[in-house]
Structure formats: C-alpha cells, structure tokens
C-alpha cells in the first residue's frame, strides 16, 4: 500500500464518517458543520486527484458560501424543529433500505465494468489545468454557451430566491 493510497483511505473514511453524521445528527447546526467537514474531505479528494482548482473552489464555494447559507437558514427557521422530537420520518428504515440498495446496485454495476481498474497517466509536464479551463470556457468550439448560461442560471436563482423568500407582498 503506497502513501497515496493511505492518504486516500484516511480522507475517504473521514469524509464518509462526516457524511454519516450529516444525515444522522440531531442538531441541525451540527449537521451543517459536519457537512463542512465532509465537503472539506471532498476538497482533499480533489487535491489527491490533482484537480487543484476544484479543490480550492470546493472550499471557497461550499465552505465559504453554501455552508454559511445553510447556517443562516437554520437560524431563520430555528423555532420549529429544535433538537427534540424525531429527526427522521417514519419511513426512515425504508429510505435506508433504498440507499443501501442503490449503493449495492451501483457497486454491482461497477463490478461489471471493464475500465474499473484503470490507473491514471502522469500529468504532462507544463500542463496548466486552470489556463486550460479558461481556454475551454470561452472558446466558441467548447463551453462558451454553458459559461454564459451559468451566469443566467445564477441570476435566475438569485432573483428567484429573493422573490420567493422575501416577497414583500407576503409579509411576515
């Protein structure tokens, strides 16, 4: 077992453990904080995968913004669930069963796939993923449309969220 494998295993276990806490912990703020640690684990996974840009973006977007948004939302809807009462609905066992079945199904399907034991080729020297990304994002032959549409999507989300949550007409 090489060092990289050990790193991966540690990170994966840490991530999955945190993920398990996200879906089971009673306190929602804790759940959000566990989510942060899960996402940090995913960021480390990206780093292990040499996707440096994704790794930092993961931290910037998820931990810097999405987690904060979650915590704010929990605060704003706080009075309701508190920490008492069941946090799972009455069909939770069925949900768990389905989740396990999904994992089993995915695992089963992956087993039958030939490309599974592929190993990664070395990154070519002088390869700059960020510059390459910049190239792809604005080149008309590649992803310029998704690039622009992403901004439309973000604006739509902003406008929609502002309107839905805080439409002055609905009042308090």
């Amino acid at each position: 077992m090489t060092g990289e494998q050990i790193v991966f295993l540690v990170v994966a276990l840490f991530t999955l453990g945190s993920g398990f806490m996200v879906v089971t912990t009673r306190n929602l703020v804790h759940a959000a904080l566990w989510l942060v640690s899960t996402l940090f684990g995913v960021a480390v996974t990206y780093a292990v995968l040499d996707a440096a840009f994704l790794a930092v973006v993961q931290v910037v977007v998820y931990i810097g913004a999405i987690a904060i948004l979650f915590i704010f939302a929990v605060m704003l809807t706080r009075k309701d669930v508190r920490d008492q009462g069941p946090q799972m609905n009455k069909n939770w066992w069925f949900g768990a069963l389905l989740a396990v079945m999904t994992f089993g199904g995915l695992y089963f399907l992956l087993q039958g796939w030939s490309g599974l034991s592929k190993t990664a080729a070395a990154i070519p020297a002088g390869f700059d993923a960020v510059a390459e990304l910049g190239n792809e994002l604005v080149s008309p032959a590649a992803y310029v449309l998704p690039f622009e549409v992403a901004s439309v999507l973000l604006v739509a989300a902003l406008v929609g969220a502002v309107y839905v949550a805080f439409n002055p007409r609905s009042g308090k």
């Binding site: 069909n91 949900g95 389905l98 079945m101 999904t102 199904g105 032959a141």
Partner: protein, 717 residues
C-alpha cells in the same frame, strides 16, 4: 453586407426590441412603441433587401442564399443550424415582413396611443374609456391600453418567432420559431387576462396547438433518426428522398409518407384545420383585431408554410399523378375543412368570427392544394390570402374601433360593437375602411380578374380539375361559393344600407396609423395576383409573365408543370364568385334588422348561443376527453339551430356528423368510456398522492430500481 449576413440579422431587431421593452422602456409608452415599430421597420427593410436580391439572382432554386454554423456537437460531427432563403422563403418573407410591419403600425392607433388613461381601467382588461372635460361639458373618449408597452413586447417576440421560422434552414430552428409563436399566441390571446373568456381561450389555443406539436416533434425525431440531419437541403436530395420512400414503416406507409403525416398533424394544429380548428375562433378574444390578425393571417400561415417546405417529402413516394396515402389524407382534410368552415361562417354575426372561420376555410384551400400536389398554387394562395385576410382583419378592427367610438358616445355599453346586426351604413362614416374592406372582401371571394384572390383560387381549382381530382374540385367550388356568399353578407350587413343602431350612426373613421396599413395592404390585395396569371389564360395570359410560378416553382428540383388550360374551372370560379356575391347582396340588402330576415327567424330566439352551439358541436371531436358533460346539455339545443341556419346543406352535414359519428362513437364510446376509466383510476390512485416529496421520491426510486433490475436481467442478459 452580404445577403447571408443580412438574413441572419432579420429576426434580431424584434427580439432585441422585446428585451429592451421588457427590461428598460416599459414605463414609457412612447419609447416602447418607437422601439417596437422601429425594430419591425428594420426587419422589414432587411427583408425587402433580401427579397429583391433574391429576385434578381438567376437560378435561386438551385443556389439559394444559405449559411450555417455549428450548433451542437453530436458525437463526432456537428448539428448545424443556419439560414436559407430559396424562392419560397423569399416569397413568404416578402409578405411576412410587410404584414408584421403593418401590424406594429396599426397597433399604435388601435391601442389608442395619445389618449388619456382610463377612469377605471385596469391592467388585464380592455380599456373602458376616459372622461374628459372640454368646453364645460364632459365627453367620454377612448382610453389608452393600460398594458400598452407589454403588447409591443409580445408583438416583438412574435415577430422574432415568425422570422426565425421563415429564414431557418432546418426543422429544429423552424420548430423553435414555431413554438415561440405558440407561446406568443397564448400570451396575446390571453392579453386581457382579466376576462375569463380570454384566459380560457388562451389555454385552449395553447393546448390544442400542443396536440399537433407533439406529433410534429415526433415527426422531427423520426426524421432525424432516419436521415441523421434536419437541414432541408440535405433531406431533399435525390438519394435521401429515395431512401425514405423506399422503406415502409407503421401501417404499411413509407417512411417519408409517415414522417410527412406526423409533420402535417403539427400543421393541423397550427393552421387550425379540422379537427384541431377549434382554437382559432376563440382566439378572437385577443385584443381585437391585432392579435386576431396575427393568429389568422400570419401565424396560421406558418403551418401551411411548413407543409409547403415539406412538399418534397410528401411527394417522395408519388408515382405519376396518383396520390399517396398521406397526400390523400392531406387533400381530404383540406377540402373538408374548406367546406365545413365556410358553412359555419355563413351563420356568424360577430364580424371577427366570420373572418376567423373564413380563415380556417381558406387555409383548408391551401392544404387541399398541397394534397393534390399543386405546390405553386398553394404557395400563391398562401401569399395572396395573407394580404387580403390581413386587410380584412385590420379592417374589421377598424370597424370595431369605430363602433366603440359610437358606444362611448352613447354610453350604452350593452351594445356589442362586434355584432354586425348593430352596424349598417358604415360606408359613409368610415369611407377608407369601407373601400379597403370591399377590396379585401372581393379578393377573398375571388372577384374575377382584378383581385389577387381570383388568380390564386383559380389556379387551385384549375390544378384540381386538370389533374382529375373531381371530389376536391367540387368541394372547393362549393366552398368558394359559400365564401363569396358570406363575404357579401358581411359587407352588406356592415357597410351598406342604413345604420341600424344609434352607435352605428356615431361611428367614426379611425386615425391614420390604422388606415395607412389598410391602404397599403389593399394595394397588395389587388396587385399581387397579377404576378401569377397563367400563360394560357384567355386575353390576359402572357401580358404579364407568370413570374410567380416560374420563381417559386424552381424551389423544387423539377419545376411542376402547369395544367392544360380548360374553360371548366375558369367558368366555375367565375360562376361561384359572382353568383355568391350577387346572392349575398340580394339576400341581405333588404335586411334592416335581424327580425326582418326571413331566413334568420330562428336566430331571434337563439341569438347568442349559435356560436357556442357550433363551437361545441365541432369542438367535440378534439375535446371529447375534456368537456363531456357540458356539451350534452347543449346538444339538445343544437338540432333546431343547425336545421335553420343556412339551409339544408349545412344542416344535413351537421346532422350526419352528429348522428353517425358524434353520438354513437365519440360521446358514448370514447367520451363517456374514457371518462369512466379515468375516474376509476383516479379513485384508486388517489391514495398515492400524499403530497409528500420524500414519498414521491421513494416511489420513483423503487420504480427505477425495479425497472433497472428487470432490464438488467431480461434485456441485457
């Protein structure tokens, strides 16, 4: 600028105007309509340049203007989209750009720009008029539309859709334009969303056309899977068509015939052909008559345009003059619609509804023409019809606008300004409207020699006769007779005689923004026919070269031959046109009010629900799944009405359809049966609808897993 670049630019100004108006200028009415009309003008200008360049090019059919760009990567090649102007496209672009520009201009006047805001107008309702004080006493004057800017925004989007449809070189972007127009027609019909009828009509129009569109999309998908391309010029090559015609698919039809049939169903929805015609009369709920005109003169033409575009596909498996299955269906639906809508139009009292049914009927003409292979004639009639029907709609709008003036003057809001029996004698009050309406009406009736309608209609009849399609020929001839009859009825009731109401006496001519389009369109309604006079026509033939046939005919790989000249169709069209007009005038010139009309006596009792009765009788076939119960009640009232409206012909057809088709088949078997089944299932499945997202998700997932496992074990292994 190259012509190709210019073609790319044609659709842009209206859509930019749409965004400009929606985002920036919607507070200012003046800015909004300036932007809108300016954009329409730019598109018109570009279209004219393109058109004249297209006309001056030799062999445009073989070497059309085309340019395309890569759009979507599909595996290792690209799906291309682009623009194409071939002779048909150029001819259609010509009338589309003119009518759209005229609509924009006309809307300024129609929505009372420059008038004060209404006393109690609200957004979503038609303006009710404003009180102004002048020289000490109060007047009621028309008030400006509250959602003036929004109207121009919608119009802009609509124009964008139409231009995209016309200039696109492939079915996909054409379908995009098609759907944009579908959306706009929904928005415009429901423009006065405060009125429930408008809301319902909007939904009806949207849903009905959707039925057709689903089939059209299926057709497009089928075509793509069969050929791997959606570009017209690639599909219509010898090899591709031969390949498509050589294979058979469902029901023993050839692939090309089946695809053409699916695409044609889309046209049935869009062009309001039987049995999906029901939305068009209701679409008259839109702001009269601007959007009505859009639906009637411009958008519905899109359906016909689509079929004309698909003509090579339609005829791919044709041998000699024998009609293929699909062509027979097309011809039947067209001819049937032409006759059937004409019979309805005879009994309408609402000035717009007459025109709506007339439009359905005339579109049936074109479809029938395509069905019998009269390609050029269909295109010709499409264009002449667009001109004179646009003229008629705008004219009727002008009439209504004038009548509303009278209504505001007397203050009696119970008088329906659209009912022709409230009019009469308007020729003196509204001379420009009268003369232009007369021209449009005569063109519609096919008044011999001078009007455009005559030449195009004659060409269809001649084609039907020349190729020996007797059934189509006779049906269309009867429809032409009825057309002339109801047109004259309309003109007589509206403009001739003496005013029948106080309101009609106080009607007023409309402003220049409304009359200018009328004059421009009436010019084309007359002259456009002269470009397509057959060469062998007695006396006139050969004076003007048959330019249209030559020009448009070259779109196809082989130019269709003109049928031998024969006196029979010519005499027929002369007789039906003149006969219908004379009869209509003789019949209605003495009618001072509804009560004096001997033939209309039953109408006295049933004055209002004739429209609905007809509506429900013929809506049923398309709507059997929706409104069972309601029309059962109305059915009881139908028979009397039908028998007395327009004589035994109409009544006979109605009775036949009702007794042999509707009642046993649709009502009992399909209607009630499906309703019962649906109800039963609804009752059983209600328990599943808990409204809880998580349970839905679980259910979906269980289904997914079950299907996945089943697929894995039964299909993959």
């Amino acid at each position: 600028m190259t012509t190709e670049t210019l073609i790319w630019l044609i659709p842009l100004p209206p859509v930019l105007a749409f965004f400009l108006i929606v985002l920036l200028t919607n507070k200012s009415k003046w800015l909004s309509h300036t932007v809108g009309v300016g954009a329409a003008f730019l598109s018109w200008l570009a279209s004219m340049i393109v058109f004249f360049r297209a006309v001056s090019v030799e062999h445009l059919g073989e070497h059309p203007f085309e340019s395309s760009i890569n759009w979507l990567p599909t595996g290792n090649s690209w799906f291309e989209i682009g623009v194409l102007i071939d002779p048909v496209g150029a001819a259609v672009l010509f009338f589309v750009s003119i009518t759209i520009f005229m609509i924009f201009l006309y809307s300024v006047g129609y929505h009372n720009f420059g008038q004060p805001a209404g006393d109690h107008d609200r957004a979503g309702l038609p303006p009710h008029g404003a009180t102004v004080e002048e020289h000490g006493h109060k007047h009621v004057v028309p008030s400006v539309e509250p959602m003036y800017s929004r109207f121009f925004a919608f119009l802009g989007l609509f124009a964008f859709g139409m231009y995209v449809l016309v200039v696109s070189d492939n079915l996909l972007t054409m379908f995009v334009g098609w759907e944009i127009m579908g959306l706009c027609s929904y928005l415009l019909i429901g423009f006065w969303y405060g009125k429930e009828s408008a809301r319902n009509a909007a939904i009806k129009a949207f849903m009905t056309t959707r039925v057709g569109d689903v089939f059209m999309l299926l057709g497009i998908a089928f075509l793509y899977s069969a050929t791997g391309t959606l570009t017209f010029r690639e599909i219509f090559t010898e090899e591709t068509l031969h390949m498509l015609a050589g294979h058979t698919t469902f029901f023993g039809m050839t692939v090309s015939g089946f695809i053409a049939l699916l695409l044609f169903i889309g046209t049935i929805g869009k062009s309001a052909q039987w049995p999906l015609h029901v939305w068009l009369p209701d679409a008259m709920e839109g702001p009269t008559p601007v959007s009505a005109m859009i639906h009637a003169a411009t958008m519905v033409s899109a359906g016909v345009y689509a079929v004309i575009r698909m003509f090579p596909l339609l005829t791919a498996d044709m041998h000699g003059h024998g009609l293929t299955v699909t062509m027979s269906i097309v011809a039947f639906i067209g001819a049937f619609t032409a006759l059937f809508a004409a019979t309805i139009a005879v009994a309408q009292n609402d000035i717009k509804r007459v025109l709506a049914y007339s439009t359905i009927s005339q579109l049936g003409y074109m479809i029938a023409a395509i069905g019998i292979g009269a390609y050029v004639a269909a295109a010709f009639h499409l264009i002449t019809h667009a001109f004179f029907k646009a003229l008629l709609f705008l004219g009727s709008g002008s009439v209504i606008h004038g009548m509303e003036h009278g209504v505001l003057h007397t203050g009696n809001h119970k008088v329906d300004p659209q009912d022709m029996y409230n009019m009469g004698g308007l020729r003196k009050k509204m001379p420009i409207t009268f003369w232009t309406f007369l021209i449009g009406g005569f063109a519609l009736s096919g008044f011999p020699l001078v009007t455009a309608g005559f030449w195009s209609k004659d060409e269809i009849l001649a084609d039907a006769f020349g190729h020996g399609h007797w059934a189509v020929f006779i049906t269309l001839a009867v429809a032409a007779f009825l057309t002339a009859f109801y047109t004259m009825r309309q003109i007589t009731l509206t403009f001739l005689g003496e005013p029948r109401t106080e309101e009609a006496k106080h009607a007023q001519e409309t402003p220049w923004t409304m009359t200018t389009p009328l004059v421009v369109l009436s010019f084309f309604a007359v002259t456009y026919g002269w470009v397509g006079i057959p060469e062998h026509f007695p006396l006139l033939g050969g004076l003007v070269p048959n330019w249209f046939h030559d020009f448009v005919g070259h779109t196809l790989a082989e130019v269709p031959e003109t049928p031998e000249f024969s006196w029979i169709p010519l005499l027929t069209s002369l007789v039906v046109a003149l006969g219908g007009l004379t009869l209509g005038w003789l019949y209605y010139r003495n009618v001072k009010s509804v009560s004096e009309d001997k033939l209309q006596i039953p109408l006295l009792k049933n004055k209002y629900y004739f429209d609905e009765a007809y509506d429900f009788l013929f809506v049923k076939p398309a709507y059997w799944f929706a409104e069972n119960v309601v029309y059962k009640l109305l059915d009881q009232r139908l028979i009397d009405g039908i028998l007395h409206i327009s004589g035994p012909t109409t009544g006979g057809i109605g009775k036949f359809v009702r007794e042999k088709f509707d009642l046993p088949f649709i009502n009992e078997l399909v209607g009630d049966g499906s309703a019962n089944v649906t109800y039963w299932f609804g009752g059983k499945l209600r328990a599943v609808q808990t409204g809880r997202v998580q349970q839905y998700l679980m259910l979906a997932l269980v289904t997914f897993i079950v299907i996945g496992v089943a697929l894995y074990f039964f299909v993959l292994s």
